[in-house]
Amino acid sequence: VFPSNYVHNGYTRAVNKDAESLLPLPAATFHILVALTGEDRHGYAILKEVSAQTDGSVKLSAATLYRSIERMLEQGLIREVTPRAPRNSEDERRRYYRITALGRAAAMAEARRLTRLLVLARASGLA
């Protein structure tokens, strides 16, 4: 009666999903993607990087960070990686994240969207 022999591939979304459909990205997500563009980082490093890139004006909390990470993993924007050369034993225990092709595409799409908005605002004399 009940199919006993089907296998199915879990619930990660298909990675080829159109990045456009994720727009607009939440601010935290965009910051995290930007922070991960250069290199793989663990959570605390992401916070530091975001803070440095924005001259300390954006301070993500731990809660926001990990809720975003959980969702971004689910959406396939980032993935977890094993660091190639852990600097010390504490780093070894940490989870490192890397931006995916979809994540890059989504960040670029978001940047384009923001640029268009900026052009619009300038043309109207708002900026």
């Binding site: 009666v1 009940f2 199919p3 006993s4 022999n5 089907y6 296998v7 199915h8 879990g10 619930y11 663990h42 959570g43 605390y44 916070l47 909390s61 731990a62 809660a63 926001t64 960070l65 990990y66 809720r67 990470i69 959980e70 969702r71 689910e74 225990r93 940490r94 989870r95």
Partner: protein, 858 residues
């Protein structure tokens, strides 16, 4: 930091497992970055953040799980539909049955402190019976009230019906005359105006019900002080009761003042009232009963002539219902609890099967890195969604079914006729199914799938789980046998009741009531004139074969019991000598189809000037003159000597299920002067061969032409009246039959599911057996034998339980033995047949297993 870790429990377990350590590390570093006083600020920020953030993480996950659930259930639509249906049936049936039971048996009446409200009537000294056995006489009431110490207040009421003229159409309405104590002791204040006050001259005052105020007076707020006309007398409306007030039963629309004159108190046999009281605080029901019994003994000693056999029947207002209603409801509740158990067993079975089927899926997902917590949460979501959808469908079912239960509400209680859906019961049933779904769906998955079963390959399903499922199927069979047999017994009982000859012919006869009000029709000549004119014109209508009036239709009016004296026979203890008597016009027997066995009918010549006569029933003859010629014998009724001129067949005056007193029929014209109006002939019976509606319209026109102010009420056919006799039983039976059918179907599905699953799991084994030369027939028999074994294992306890249940509801069986062989044989046969069908398909499938394809798959 420990506080922070503890706070992190607000997050889903899977999330916590992944990120808790890192979050703790980050918070620790952040605290390290700031100066000591600033740490407080960081702490507050961190706590607020967790509290706000955790629910959104839950929500993220729920959305994800719901998406997945939706996809997964869509893939296995059959499974989802079955589970939803099973849950809906369980929740629906239980909510409906418990709602009605709670409404009738448990819910407090709509009076303040309803538990201390009691009623007193007369009853046998030996006790026994239910409700009001015999009404009280005003003299006995007066003495009980004066002598008792158990009551904070005690009042009396009678029952009456009056013709209300004014407002809309003339109407016949039920009235309860009450003493001034009654309304205050019930504790409900009027919505408008006031209730009766002693000494306020309320003899011609009326308090009306909310319903009557709305229907007859359009809710007019200026109704107070208006005059209405009751039985031709003017009454002043002094109050309107609130909508939820009803006393003593829901049909009563109007209350007048009950007072006693000297002559009312003269005779202790003159019993026409009942008492209602409120217990003194601190006095228990049993203490009050004990006191009343003592007082009744005292009265019996003081007035042996009248009170020798008179005791009290004393009961809580709540309990004024036939034990049959209680038993019917309890058996319904029992049936629906059985169905709930069966539902759970079936649900467990379905979910176990599915868990086994998904073992491999879970194993693969676990191997791909899904956290155990996450998978569990996912499964839980799936089951809760199923339970909620099933529950919602169940609620809709219950809402549809509950109004149909109105015939199960006894008419003797002051509660609404229509039970409402009970939300507390609904919540309980919903919770129960949710827990079953969750517990049974999740537990086996967590326990034995272990999410690491990849190595087991396609083969799954251990022996132990199969055993659990087999036990569950056996339980299902047991319960369905139980329900089948009990509903079978009740069906037989209904048939037996329906086959009781009522003593009259119900087909092709309509009845309606025109009760003549008293000052207008006080003169017997005026009444005779009315009957002659109405009957004369009705009999001339085309298709009418006979028409006659009686003071009360059998089954409808069960009282009108009187005593007779027979020359040469002991006249003492009149109540044990009771006969049921009716004043009738000519042609009444023909109209009712009551058989005339000897002598003659009442005729037009039986006037007040002619000899006074009587017609008696066969059982009357058997009681007083066994073996003798009854025609020409004399009897004395209320002082009048009468000659018996005819004998008719017996009628079930008290209904099909009760024994009736012998019957005495007297000519309408020979009513002695000063007789109360409720003995007047008022129910018209017309036997005809045409359309009921056309005839009713024609009769209405005739009545209106004879007396335009005469209300017409209770229009129905004799068949309706008989059907009403079994309506409650039929309603209960229909519900039970549906429950039993559902139970048998579920059991069949259970057996089929289990065997089909076994066959699919054992396909390899069967293939190997076949390849090694086993005969397909042997394999088929093996599977088939499994099914029948389960059925037999379930049938035996089912039969025993059904016998016990049958004995418990013996009172409902109307003489059918709880071990009634035909019922048992048919029920067991049906169960065997259904399980046979359930095992047939899997057995055939086993026979058709192709050894080659199975072995190749390996």
């Amino acid at each position: 930091m420990r506080v922070y870790r503890w706070l992190l429990h607000l997050y889903p377990a899977a999330f916590r497992a992944d990120y808790a350590d890192e979050m703790v590390a980050i918070v620790r570093m952040r605290l390290g970055e700031v100066s000591r006083p600033a740490r407080i600020v960081v702490w507050i920020a961190v706590i607020v953040e967790v509290i706000v953030n955790a629910p959104s993480v839950h929500w993220d996950m729920l959305k994800q799980d719901l998406r997945y659930t939706f996809r997964s259930l869509l893939r296995s639509r059959g499974f989802a539909a079955t589970v939803i249906l099973v849950i809906a049936l369980g929740v629906g049936a239980n909510t409906a049955a418990f709602s009605v039971a709670d409404f009738v048996l448990l819910r407090p009446l709509a009076f303040p402190d309803p538990d201390s409200l009691v009623r007193i009537c007369e009853g046998p000294r030996t006790g026994g019976g239910w409700g009001c056995n015999n009404q009280l006489s005003p003299a006995n009431y007066r003495d009980l009230k004066a002598m008792s110490r158990s009551f904070a207040a005690l009042g009396a009421f009678a029952s009456d019906a009056v013709n209300l003229v004014g407002g809309g159409e003339p109407r016949r309405i039920a009235v309860t005359p009450v003493t001034p104590e009654v309304m205050p002791l019930l504790g409900v204040s009027p919505l408008l105006g006031r209730v009766f006050v002693p000494g306020a001259g309320d003899a011609n005052a009326a308090v009306i019900s909310y319903g009557l105020w709305q229907s007859q007076f359009a809710g007019n707020a200026a109704i107070l002080g208006n005059t209405i006309n009751l039985n031709g007398l003017p009454y002043t409306v002094i109050g309107v009761m609130p909508a939820q007030f009803s006393f003593p039963i829901r049909d009563v629309q109007l209350w007048t003042l009950l007072t006693f004159r000297e002559q009312d108190l003269a005779n202790r046999n003159n019993s026409y009232i009942e008492a209602v009281g409120r217990l003194q605080p601190g006095v228990t029901f049993e203490q009050a009963r004990a006191e009343l019994v003592t007082l009744a003994d005292q009265l019996a000693r003081e007035y042996p002539d009248t009170n020798e056999d008179t005791g009290v029947s004393f009961f809580r207002m709540r309990d004024n219902m036939s034990p049959r209603f209680r038993l019917m409801l309890l058996s319904l509740v029992g049936a629906s609890v059985s169905l709930l158990l069966l539902t759970c067993a079936n649900l467990a079975n379905l979910l176990l099967a599915r868990a086994a089927a998904r073992k491999r899926e879970m194993a693969v997902r676990a191997a791909l890195g899904a956290a155990k917590h996450r998978l569990a949460r996912q499964l839980a979501t799936e089951h809760v969604v199923l339970a909620l959808v099933g529950g919602a469908v169940g609620v809709v079912l219950a809402m549809l079914v509950v109004p149909l239960f109105s015939t199960l509400v006894p008419p003797t209680l002051p509660i609404a006729a229509r039970p409402e859906l009970d939300w507390r019961v609904l919540a309980l049933a919903g919770m129960f199914t949710c827990l079953t779904a969750l517990g049974l769906g999740l537990w086996p998955t967590l326990r034995d799938a272990g999410f690491s079963a990849l190595r087991e390959g396609a083969r799954a399903g251990g022996g132990q789980k199969q055993r659990i499922r087999a036990v569950l199927v056996t339980v299902e069979v047991t319960i369905s046998v139980l329900l089948l047999i009990t509903s079978g017994l009740l069906i037989r009982a209904v048939w037996r009741v329906q086959s009781v000859p009522p003593g009259f012919v119900a087909e092709h006869a309509i009845t309606l009531r025109t009760a003549l009000s008293r000052p207008e029709y006080a003169s017997p000549l005026r009444r005779t004139e009315y009957f002659r004119r109405v009957l004369g014109e009705v009999r001339r209508l085309p298709g009418v074969q006979a028409a006659g009036f009686t003071s009360g239709l059998p089954v409808v009016v069960t009282g009108l019991v009187t005593g007779v004296e027979i020359a040469g026979q002991d006249a003492r203890s009149q109540r044990n000598n009771a006969v049921s008597h009716r004043w009738i016009t000519p042609q009444y027997f023909q109209a009712m189809g009551i058989q005339l066995r000897r002598g003659r009918d009442v005729e037009d010549r039986d006037t007040r000037d002619a000899a006074w006569v009587a017609v008696v029933s066969q059982s009357f003859v058997d009681r007083y003159w066994p073996g003798e010629e009854p025609i020409g014998k004399t009897l004395r009724h209320r002082g009048q000597l009468r000659t018996v001129v005819g004998v008719v067949g017996d009628v079930r005056v008290r209904g099909l299920e009760r024994t009736s007193e012998p019957q005495l029929y007297l000519p309408a014209e020979q009513i002695p002067d000063g007789f109360p109006a409720n003995f007047d002939p008022k129910d018209l019976v017309v036997r005809h061969s045409g359309q009921d509606e056309a005839l009713v319209a024609a009769v209405r026109k005739i009545v209106r032409s004879v007396d335009p102010n005469q209300p017409i009420s209770d229009v129905r056919t004799l068949q309706d009246i008989l059907a009403g006799e079994t309506a409650t039983r039929s309603a209960q039976l229909q519900v039970l039959a549906v429950l039993a059918t559902v139970a048998v179907l579920l059991a069949a599905i259970g057996i089929y599911g289990l065997l089909a699953y076994t066959v699919s799991q054992r396909a390899q084994e069967i293939g190997v057996r076949l390849a090694l030369g086993a005969k397909p027939a042997t394999v088929g028999r093996m599977i088939f034998g499994d099914g029948m074994r389960l059925a037999l294992l379930g049938i035996v306890p089912g039969v025993l339980a059904a016998y016990a249940a049958g004995r418990a509801m013996n009172a409902l069986l109307f003489g059918i033995a709880p071990s009634d062989p035909p019922t048992f044989v048919v029920a067991v046969g049906v169960t065997l047949l259904i399980t046979f069908l359930g095992s047939l398909i899997p057995a055939l499938r086993a026979v058709r297993v192709s050894p080659m394809s199975v072995l190749r798959a390996e």
